[in-house]
Amino acid sequence: MALRDKVNDYEQTVKALLAFAALVVHDGTDHRPDSRFGFGRRMDTSSANKLLPNGEVRPDLTAQKSLEYGVVVEAKKSWSRDESRWAKQADQLRKYDDDLTGWWTNDERTLDANAVLLVHQSRSRAVSRFVASLKEEDDQAVGSRSVVVEFNSSEETASYYFFRTEFGSFLDEELDATLLDGRQVPLDKVVSTFSTVRYYDAPPPIPYLLTDLWVHVLPSVEKVRFDEEIKADIITVSAEDLSAEMQKAYGSELLHRDARSCQFPKSSWVKKCLDFLVTKRLAIPNEAENTYDVIYRHFKKDILDRFVEMAEGDEKTATNEEADQTELFHG
């Protein structure tokens, strides 16, 4: 998949998760009482879990509608054309279809819950057929509380996210009825309510994170000096400081936090971006101090396009090297 598409997918996934969370925790007028949601929340599996007994899972989204009901969600916008690679997502769904511990209740349990696979419309039918066929072959392969929900953004005006059940049913009557025929969540509501949430608990493509660093984070750093020789600002940063700032501004700190919450964007993701800049001669590492001097250039071109070009250049080089290697062995 082209890198630009991966960037687009990541952003769409974040917005889709927020829109789906809104469906669960909001009644159209107000936040439901005792409702909450989180990204990447640490949930404990039960001893009866088919694939991971007494283990830990971190669903993309955990959304509690009430003290009695919640959903855990795995989102995947793009699916490989090779269906043999879909088993991993099916396994994830199986792990989530369980009496999980970690809800926002007194005993951290809930009466009912569904495990949801959130799939883009372009693949939802195929995925639903895949899940249905798995269940036919082996009734235990797919849990009884598993649901496949399709999502897309409306093509007419692109100002809505649309969700509809494609496989299974929800234990919550209201949610089941809502998603049977499909429900639109206005983009406007998602943007206005969660205007700065940009990440979830999965690493984004490097250009996505780099663009936020270049546009929002690096310009806000105070420790800057102008280098007369190269005619650019030099901004001294560390991966830890940058990720801490991004968590506050665009990530995990914006959502409800407790002992089960995780932090994102992680400093390892940011470090990967800074190391990438080093390879592009846009940063110099100061290993002794564990910092980087970023050479902050003003791009005339679109910043995202620029970083995508740089990263795709690397991918092409890696592919060519692989091909050369193959030729070496088989030529």
Partner: protein, 375 residues
């Protein structure tokens, strides 16, 4: 009266320099109020905003290494090289006036000068951004300012002329046609006319007629031109225009900057306080308008951008490289632009962006946007 020879201009400038050497700004203002200023000279005013005080900024500049500005009496003198291939030095003078009823963050820069001299002064102000920020007036604010002055003390105020741009739309481009019209009409009629013709107002000339018992004099006491750039020029009584118009422009500008300030994520403890521009008509139902928006933002001066989506809705990241403020812009059909502040987003940077969007897209209503929640 008009000065026609360089000797006359030199003599007049010597006189003006002696006014600037008077003991304090109050005396200078009082003296200017009594003077007749010959063309091509005018009293010109620019309303400026600074996080410190505009005066402090110029004092720092004047005592620094710059040779282009120095203190002169109660004000400042500038010497700027202009022209090619043989540059010449343009000397200008100005002083700063506070508004007694407003914060010291906003002051009026006043100069008695020609258009040439004024350009050198405004260049210094432009180069000082973001330490000094201009007050930008929207068309609504410009009209509102004029409406408020319909009757000022013992004067009747009428619109003498206005300049505006009209959008010319062809298959390949959208360009502007500038027009200047003289009118003796009531302000409400002018306002309606401008709206109906789809014009964008750039400046208005207001005449102040002494009025007694509801009967107006036939000769105005003063004419003030207000521009959307927050600049004014005065013919006739400086006092009348300064008191009536300059303070109103400063008040409008300060109120707007206060509304726009404090929204950067770091300043607001990471609780976003976004804004939106709302339009009366469903302009973004037409995808061409969404695409035009994206094109306009790509061309925003002194910035870098990243377009995540351009069609059918728009989502763009933007950084102001002068000020280091950043924003996310969303076009949400049918009739909204959402402006989400970045980690750093100053009031002047917001104002610069909004003024640009009002000019290049359309003027709308600026307001708070959305309710932010945690999970």
């Amino acid at each position: 009266m008009t000065l026609r020879t360089s000797e006359q201009s030199t003599a007049f400038e010597a006189f003006i320099e002696s006014v600037y050497r008077l003991d304090g700004v109050d005396q200078i203002v009082a003296t200017i109020g009594t003077l007749q200023i010959p063309l091509p000279y005018k009293v010109r005013i620019k309303i400026l905003f600074s996080e410190l005080e505009p005066r402090s900024y110029f004092e720092t500049l004047a005592t620094g290494p710059s040779e282009s500005i120095s203190q002169f009496g109660a004000g400042f003198e500038t010497r700027i090289l202009v022209g090619r291939p043989i540059p010449r030095t343009v000397r200008s003078h100005f002083f700063l006036v506070r508004f007694p009823n407003l914060s010291h963050h906003v002051e009026a820069l006043v100069s008695i000068c020609t258009a040439d001299q004024w350009r050198t002064i405004t260049r210094i102000c432009r180069d000082a951004y973001p330490k000094l920020a201009p007050i930008n007036l929207s068309q609504t604010e410009l009209l509102g300012c004029a409406k408020k002055l319909k009757h000022y003390k013992e004067y009747s105020v009428r619109v003498k002329a206005f300049s505006a741009s009209s959008r010319i739309r062809s298959a390949s481009t959208r360009s502007r046609k500038s027009i200047r019209e003289w009118t003796d009409e009531d302000l409400d009629k002018v306002s309606k006319d401008v709206r109906e013709r789809g014009l964008v107002l750039n400046s208005m000339d207001l005449e102040f007629f002494p009025s007694v018992g509801g009967v107006d004099h036939v000769i105005p006491r003063a004419t003030g031109t207000i521009r959307r750039s927050g600049e004014l020029s005065v013919t006739g009584s400086f006092d009348v225009v300064f008191e009536a118009v300059a303070e109103e422009v400063a008040r409008i500008g300060l109120k707007k900057l206060e509304f726009l300030s404090g929204r950067g994520l770091r300043e607001s403890s990471y609780t976003p306080r976004p804004l939106s521009i709302e339009f009366n008509s469903r302009i973004f139902d037409d995808l061409e308008n969404v695409r035009s928006f994206v094109t306009a933002v790509r061309k925003y001066p002194k910035s870098m951008h990243a377009v995540l989506h351009g069609n059918p809705y728009a989502h763009i990241k933007l950084v102001d490289i002068l000020d280091r403020s950043s924003f996310e812009l969303w076009v949400i059909p049918p009739k909204r632009i959402a402006l989400i502040p970045g980690i750093r987003a100053t009031g002047p940077a917001f104002d610069r962006l909004v003024a640009y969007l009002f000019d290049k897209v359309r003027e709308g209503q600026l307001q708070d946007y959305g309710v932010t929640r945690q999970g």
